[in-house]
Symmetry: C2
Subunit: 247 residues, 2 copies
């Protein structure tokens, strides 16, 4: 490993980052590879392959270095391996899942496709992580959170995305289970009322990552063209085109 691998090696060193300003081609490749090949994994976890502590800490440290409004770092991570706790979470999933099925009662073909999808890996994954938001941390005055209070939650989401990308680079799949009741999670995990669960993640090693997202492959929805999500100067202007002017 060369001297330049200072970020990857010193994952638990919070205090020293050389301000090197440029990325090598291979380093850029690593970032774009993580972003473009990251998947939401709900199946094909390698059973009984634990995540070593140092790898898990590297992933959590990546999450902990997300941007946060006013440097408030409002996240917490509950690591869950206990099977009986996970079983309770799974039951919350099943209850919410049943409710969601009935919402498609007027569209039988979509309902059938929906029922064919695997939507969570709570029990099969190596570990579950509940990521929470604490609006009281360093509060009440948080710099930059005075006009738009939700920015605190946004910080937690950025942390989850860092975690997801780091896991991908480590060969670990992550599935975000959102068909859950937050009230159930608070009861099961003894989360205080003022703390809000944001994401419930299932992590584990996988043999490989699918070439496309499961829902794209299954024909559930299609990938939107990039030009369709971009506009210029004001809402809607120039959407569907890619501006040829220098930006």
């Amino acid at each position: 490993m060369s001297d330049s691998n200072i970020y990857y090696r010193n994952y638990n060193n919070n205090h020293y980052y050389p301000s090197s300003s440029s990325f090598s081609c291979c380093e850029k490749e690593g970032l774009y590879k993580a972003i473009l090949s990251r998947r939401d994994v709900r199946s094909h976890f390698i059973s009984d392959k634990n995540i070593p502590n140092d790898v898990l800490l590297r992933i959590l440290n990546a999450a902990h270095h997300a941007p946060s409004v006013g440097f408030s770092q409002p996240w917490n991570f509950i690591l869950i391996k206990d099977k009986s706790i996970r079983q309770q979470v799974k039951e919350s999933f099943l209850t919410e899942y049943k409710k969601s099925i009935s919402m498609l009662d007027n569209d039988e073909s979509k309902q059938e496709k929906y029922l064919s999808l695997k939507l969570e890996g709570i029990m099969e994954s190596a570990i579950n992580i509940c990521v929470t938001y604490d609006h009281t941390k360093f509060g009440p005055f948080i710099l930059g959170r005075t006009s738009i209070p939700e920015t605190g939650v946004y910080s937690v989401c950025c942390a989850i995305q860092n975690l997801w990308l780091a896991a991908r680079a480590e060969g670990i799949g992550v599935g975000w289970v959102s068909i859950l009741s937050n009230e159930d999670l608070q009861k099961i995990l003894l989360i205080p009322e003022h703390i809000r669960p944001i994401g419930y993640l299932c992590l584990g090693y996988v043999e490989e990552f699918a070439a496309k997202p499961d829902l794209e492959k299954a024909g559930w929805l299609h990938r939107i063209e990039l030009s369709e999500v971009i506009c210029y100067e004001k809402w809607g202007y120039g959407r569907g085109t890619i501006s040829s002017s220098d930006s």
Copy 2:
């Protein structure tokens, strides 16, 4: 550039990702370097250095490949270069900034420190990007959004974090301006009522990235120890320790 640089080269190819499962050491280094050396940039933008279109599109494509609940891809990106539009956004900042100062009337030393900080680079940056959330896209039934509707917004935040990391790898600083009124943004950018602004970002090349976050350097808040944000099985259990068991 070797054949392995397929992700970095093919940034605008949405349809082909080889499912290579492992990362080289250098590729991992690239991801962790982006995560750990990313900064929230509010000053020191290199004036008059434009961002070439292909670089900007690579960054936006990274954002567009974020995870999204039910593959709903609910984001849009408004790219703003026009100075008169930016000036209006700056005025919204100034109004909200003034309001926030008065919230520290009972803590003079904190107020003084607050006043000394540079909090936005709206006019000096090369381009501004307003990232929005459209809950109607592919709706109303979005897979996985049935129990927790806010997950749609969470997807947009993941996209912003992808954008931020890609920009870092390209040598471009990003500053998220959150001292703004969303109502003002909607008026200035003609954003329809059902669309919600989530992040207002200022992007531009910088000479270098600071070794530490500005607010840490200024002594505004400190970096929390990683062990303090982790607990085991249930809320609060084992916080402040790092479990030595295999995870």
